[in-house]
């Protein structure tokens, strides 16, 4: 049987999927072991024991000062920011993307600007962004939005452009004006695309969140990483990174499930 037709079973798929993670873990253990053998105080690749101790500290011990468990309060603060930013970006991306994708005049007016916007490295113009948006929660959310919304807009606009012309013509012969056309024909078909775009931009969203929190914040996962980074406390940074990755991974998975559940027609057409 050809490789492209051979499909692993459920269990095989799970264990195959776990394999690279296990390999990575082993690689880490070996490298860390070697480094620690040379210098027992090495902080760059701490042993699992010291990572475990650090995890115990941040994830299960109340901070005596605030009475909070650091990891959870950080997670909560970060997720709130991320959630708002993702929601806003999705909304902007969907609306502008559809408009740019389907209204030629808007495309002419906005596509070059959005393209340019998406190319501006937001971290280079931080001082101006902070002056415009202030230094509180809004600015953190805005940094993420500025970071990922242009991407989503452009992705959705591309996808709208890929809709077959026949569909749009057919809808017009059925009496659809521009607005109902967008609402009933384009928008519903863009939902699964939006979820794809969100999934693809999750990594960037976390990146911007962390950058924002590293610059001006007093809590959040990114803040904590920034705080302990100057001590090279990899025993805290590594579990935080793994935790962030895990959270993002779960969000990605949840979005995929959501897409499958809500838009069965989209799955039916394609192969995957």
């Amino acid at each position: 049987m050809r490789l492209v037709n051979r499909k692993p079973g459920r269990m095989a798929a799970l264990s195959l999927g776990a394999l690279p993670f296990v390999l990575l873990l082993i690689a880490y253990l070996v490298a860390s072991g070697l480094r620690l053998a040379e210098n027992p105080d090495d902080k760059l690749m701490p042993s699992f024991a010291s990572i475990g101790a650090a995890i115990h500290q941040v994830a299960f011990t109340e901070n005596p000062r605030s009475g909070e468990i650091v990891l959870w309060s950080d997670t909560w603060a970060s997720l709130k920011r991320l959630g708002i930013a993702l929601g806003a970006s999705a909304l902007i991306g969907l609306c502008l993307g559809i408009l740019i994708g389907i209204v030629p005049y808007l495309r002419a007016a906005l596509a070059p600007f959005i393209t340019a916007l998406s190319m501006i490295p937001p971290l280079a113009i931080l001082p101006i962004l902070f002056i415009v948006f202030g230094l509180d929660e809004l600015s953190k959310v805005m940094l993420i939005v500025i970071g990922i919304a242009p991407f989503i807009v452009r992705d959705i606009a591309l996808r709208v452009g890929e809709l077959p012309a026949e569909q749009l013509i057919k809808a017009q012969t059925l009496g659809a004006g521009s607005w109902p056309l967008m609402l009933r024909v384009v928008l519903p078909q863009m939902w699964p695309r939006l979820i794809d775009a969100l999934r693809l931009s999750l990594g960037a969203a976390w990146l911007f969140l962390i950058a924002a929190e590293a610059i001006a914040s007093t809590d959040g996962l990114g803040y904590r990483i920034f705080l302990v980074r100057r001590y090279l406390s990899m025993d805290i940074i590594l579990p935080y990174v793994v935790w962030i990755t895990l959270l993002a991974f779960c969000m990605d998975y949840a979005l995929r499930l959501l897409s499958r559940r809500l838009f069965p027609w989209a799955e039916a057409g394609a192969r995957r």
Binding site: Q167, I169, K170, A171, T173, L174, G175, P180, W265, A266
Partner: protein
């Protein structure tokens, strides 16, 4: 006045001349069937009628005025490659045209119907689905339908809007004879009732002769073996047909009876 007037129409794609010097006058409530060799430009002609393509040269008039260069609800279409909306179920696909009906504010604002208008649209769509034999599949998505079912869905979707001009591009090509003659009856009934003007491309000569009030043959009059694209097709025959609606319906019934007889014969064999 003539509903459609075509004068000295040319259509080229790059170097290739597809249609050349086409002239045609069509009156309201004609049923024009179009036949011609594959690739000679029949679909292109329909696409121009739809406003999807612009003529390269010549005039294309609707009611004496230049054809609007965009599709509109006055001209319905069934594409050759059945195109339905993948994200709507069969029922929703058929209801779409009724929901988009431009007169109500909810249609203009949301492209949807509510309350009694919605119920009514639903009823009409269901009735249409029964007619095209898709009622059982009404909750399926298009990707789960067979080729012929998609084709019927596309027909149902277009005809339910009762456009003034109906463009059909090989609409019954993927249908078996039984369902095909059901569809003939449906189209003829709508044609009579709403006094539509119909353009239908077909490869089934018999169908062309039987359904239409007028048969157009598209063909090239000149050919250059060295440069096959140098000359385009035009209307080489324009044949008025005399069989009219009701009479034809009877003939169709007779044809169906013949099919039934065949069936019985086979059963005896």
């Amino acid at each position: 006045m003539n509903i459609i007037s075509v004068r000295k129409l040319w259509k080229t794609y790059g170097e290739q001349v597809v249609l050349e010097n086409l002239n045609l006058e069509v009156k309201e409530h004609e049923f024009v069937t179009i036949v011609g060799a594959s690739g000679c430009g029949k679909t292109t002609f329909l696409r121009m009628l739809l406003g999807q393509e612009a003529p390269s040269r010549g005039e294309f008039l609707l009611d004496g005025r230049p054809l609007p260069n965009e599709p509109g609800p006055d001209r319905g279409i069934v594409f050759q490659r059945y195109s339905v909306f993948p994200h709507l179920t069969v029922l929703e696909n058929v209801m779409l045209g009724l929901e988009l009906d431009g007169r109500s504010p909810s249609a203009r604002l949301l492209g949807r119907a509510f309350g009694s208008r919605r119920r009514e649209a639903r009823e009409r769509a269901r009735a249409m689905l029964v007619e095209v034999g898709l009622d059982a599949a009404r909750d399926k998505y298009p990707s789960m339908l067979s080729g012929g079912m998609q084709q019927r869905l596309s027909i149902a979707q277009s005809v339910i809007c009762n456009p003034r001009i109906l463009l059909l591009d090989e609409p019954f090509g993927a249908l078996d004879p039984g369902i095909s003659s059901d569809m003939h009856r449906l189209i003829l009934r709508l044609w009579e009732r709403h006094r539509m003007t119909i353009f239908m491309i077909t490869h089934d000569l018999r169908e062309g002769f039987e359904l239409g009030t007028r048969l157009l043959v598209f063909d090239k009059t000149r050919l250059d073996a060295q440069a096959p694209d140098a000359f385009g097709a035009t209307i080489t025959y324009d044949i008025p047909l005399n069989v009219k609606g009701n009479r034809l319906l009877q003939e169709l019934d007779a044809a169906t009876a013949r099919t039934e007889r065949f069936r019985e014969e086979v059963e005896l064999a």
